[in-house]
Amino acid sequence: MASKEKQGQHIKAGRSGIQRLNSYGYLFCLPFVLAFLVFNVYPVFRTFQMSLMNYKGFGKETFVGFTNYARAFKDVLFRESFGNTLKMWGLNIVLQLGLALLLTIIFNDIKYRMRGLSIFRAIFYLPNLIACTSVAFLFKTLLDWKYGSFNQVLMDLGIISEQVNWLKGEAGTAQAVVGVVGAWMWFGNSFIMLMAGVQGINNSYFEAAYIDGANRWQVFSKVTMPLLRPIMLYVAITSLIGGLQLFDIPYLISGTTGDPGRSLYTAVFYLYNMAFKNNQMGYAAALAFVLFLIISVFCAIAFKLMNKKEDR
């Protein structure tokens, strides 16, 4: 009896100890939660409130309901800029993922046994560390149609006979340049993700496949790709979210005009001009939410497509 009472007291003492620990946990989380609420949650709600207003960013706010949203869905220029974004992102993701996958296969091949993975990983990731402003000005200089090094090299090698106006000529060429620049910047990040995913696959699967007579392509398609699907999905969706918000490179590379012929005008570029150049903050806020909805739909579709085959 006495020992049980002592046990009870001990348990009670233990419970208050756990509760004390829990209190400290909450307190340590508090700074982050507060900062998150102030800098992430509040702006979202405030932006939604602005989207329901006719507001210039200063002066009076007039409630207009969902008029801004109706305008966004009829906005020809917004549709055009979103189309531009899709084109540039499309090329980016294909090159980015393709190159990252290829490098992943090479570095992970148990027959090649490539060395220096950590060095190569650092080198491939370096473009991601360069500020976008520097990248934009670097490529503007390299790709200058008259004095740029790129044209000089291609002409010296005989690949082209006359200079190509990469940035101010054809709309498609300029968009392709932005796509390639984006792929160059981000393939290292994708490579690291995919390598992490592949290294999580047990080597015995590959060994077993080779022993059973599978060639490289069969190993890749039947072993590597299915097991890599979750990571691929993560990379694809994060790339989609980031890619559809493309702004910095086209903005800087076009000299803030979106030229040639508005081909580098992306959805966020258009939103930015609406907010800060045309002083239509309410409409820009509505565009932001419409973009959010569109990205959510795209992500849902991508998620379903990539998981569909697995379900089968």
Partner: protein
């Protein structure tokens, strides 16, 4: 103990975030005053935010004459408007006077940043050039900003080249050759045959885009009248016939062209990568050259031409163009949230409405056009040796009489930009004129849904 230290560190981090973005009063706060009571202006230092160095000279002179301290803070022009919107959006008292160019003023007025200056209205109306009075008023007609300068525009042309090609450098005769867009096209061809380019680039014509009608009329209809169509056609013609030097405004070739011969540049040349020394080397190396005959700029542009003319100094003159126009200008306003409004108004009155100050600035700036009508008239006989001893003040005073401020709308910048893009697309052969105009209407009506395309628009 360790837990306590960790908690304290976490709190410090949280508080440091909360401290970001707080606005504090600069210096000591002045004594509170009741409405209508004048503050002791004599001992109060006021702070002026501006985007050019001019006001530093005004501040120094103000201190010499009145003993009152003025601190002038100069911001880069690219950041200035954003800085003002952010600072005054937080109702800061860090500044007492701020400046704005005419295109910035409507936003500043609507945001409630500029105090009422009605007490100066009678003087402004009497003393200053009319368009500056109108530009300083909000949409209810309340005066909220005053300028010490006026910026009427002109064609700044090379007298020596005019004599060579046209047989005369008389401003009246040369002005006649720039009086309509069709005449500009003819003049351009004549100059081209003689080996000269009428303008550095076709952007020069944009100053004449408001000639007969505002961009948007009272019915919110976008106006593309015959003058604007002529402007469009002339800009395309000059570009496609090689009548311009392809030296974009503010680029190195543009500045170099004021001093002498310029290498002939392709339409696609990247002028932003060029340097003055590089161009001079090309000229010295025997490259094919040309010279730019004229520049279309407001009066401050005439000073830029003068300052970059080098051996061509004295060879320029000014004449009228298709229409009278203005561009830029520094308007002073009082911060609505300032506690030193009386001191601020006193400084603004000194800078803008004092005849002695206007005369001093006219001389000290070596050619800036002041907004004071009486001072300009008193200097009408001044012979400006930088412009071939022409009576430039007399010329500008007469030009300003024709400036019609009622033609200015809040849509002008957007319309001009979209129209310019339409012109460029046709110049480069990317679109037909009709498609370019349709695109222009689409862009403008998308940006401003309240605007409409009139039934008689030139796209059908």
């Amino acid at each position: 103990m360790k837990k306590l230290i960790c908690l304290l560190l976490a709190l410090v981090m949280t508080l440091s975030l909360a401290a970001c973005g707080s606005t504090t009063d600069a210096g000591s706060a002045p004594a509170a005053t009741s409405d209508g009571e004048k503050t002791a202006a004599a001992d109060e230092k006021i702070v002026v935010w501006t985007l050019a160095n001019d006001l530093k000279q005004f501040a120094d002179r103000y201190k010499e004459e009145t003993g009152r301290e003025v601190e002038v803070v100069v911001f880069d022009s690219a950041d200035y408007a954003t800085k003002i919107m952010q600072t005054l959006g937080a109702q800061s008292k860090d500044l007492d006077v701020f400046v704005g160019e005419p295109q910035m003023l409507p936003n500043f007025f609507e945001a409630g940043f500029a105090a009422d200056l009605s007490e100066l209205d009678a003087q402004v109306s009497e003393k200053l050039v009319d368009y500056t009075h109108q530009a300083g008023q909000d949409e209810d007609g309340v005066l909220r900003a005053v300028s010490y300068q006026a910026c009427p525009g002109s064609v700044i042309y090379r007298r020596d080249l005019a004599t060579e090609v046209f047989g005369t450098d008389d401003p009246e005769v040369i002005g006649e050759k720039f009086s309509t867009f069709n005449k500009i096209a003819e003049t351009a061809e004549e100059l081209n045959k003689a080996g000269y380019k009428i303008f550095a680039d076709t952007g020069s014509l944009r100053w004449f885009s408001i000639s007969s009608n505002p961009w948007v009329n009272a019915n919110n209809e976008i106006v593309i009248d015959q003058d604007r169509l002529d402007y469009f056609d002339t800009a395309v013609q000059l570009y496609q016939n090689g009548c311009v030097a392809n030296a974009s405004e503010w680029s190195a070739p543009w500045y170099s062209s004021m001093a002498g011969p310029l290498p002939v540049l392709d339409a696609d040349a990247n002028v932003w990568e060029m340097t003055g020394d590089g161009l001079a080397e090309q000229v010295a190396g025997g490259a094919k050259t040309t010279q730019v005959f004229s520049y279309v700029l407001p009066s401050w542009g005439a000073l830029i031409v003068r300052d970059n003319a080098m051996d061509n100094k004295g060879k320029f003159g000014v004449c009228s163009g298709v229409c009278s126009f203005f561009g830029g200008g520094t308007f002073l306003a009082v911060n609505e949230f300032s506690d030193k409004k009386d001191a601020a108004i006193d400084f603004i009155e000194y800078c803008t409405l004092n005849n002695d100050t206007a005369q001093w600035w006219l001389e000290a700036s070596n050619g800036d056009v002041v907004s004071n009508k009486e001072v300009l008239a008193n200097n009408a006989d001044f012979q400006n040796e930088s412009f071939g001893n022409q009576n430039t003040y007399d010329f500008y005073l007469k030009e300003m009489e024709h400036i019609d401020y009622s033609m200015i709308t809040g849509y002008d910048d957007a319309c001009k930009e979209a129209f310019g893009s339409a012109i460029v697309s046709v110049q480069k052969g990317e679109k037909t004129k009709e498609d370019a105009l349709k695109e222009f209407y689409t862009v403008v009506t998308t940006q401003f849904p309240e605007l409409v395309v009139p039934a008689d628009a030139p796209i059908n």
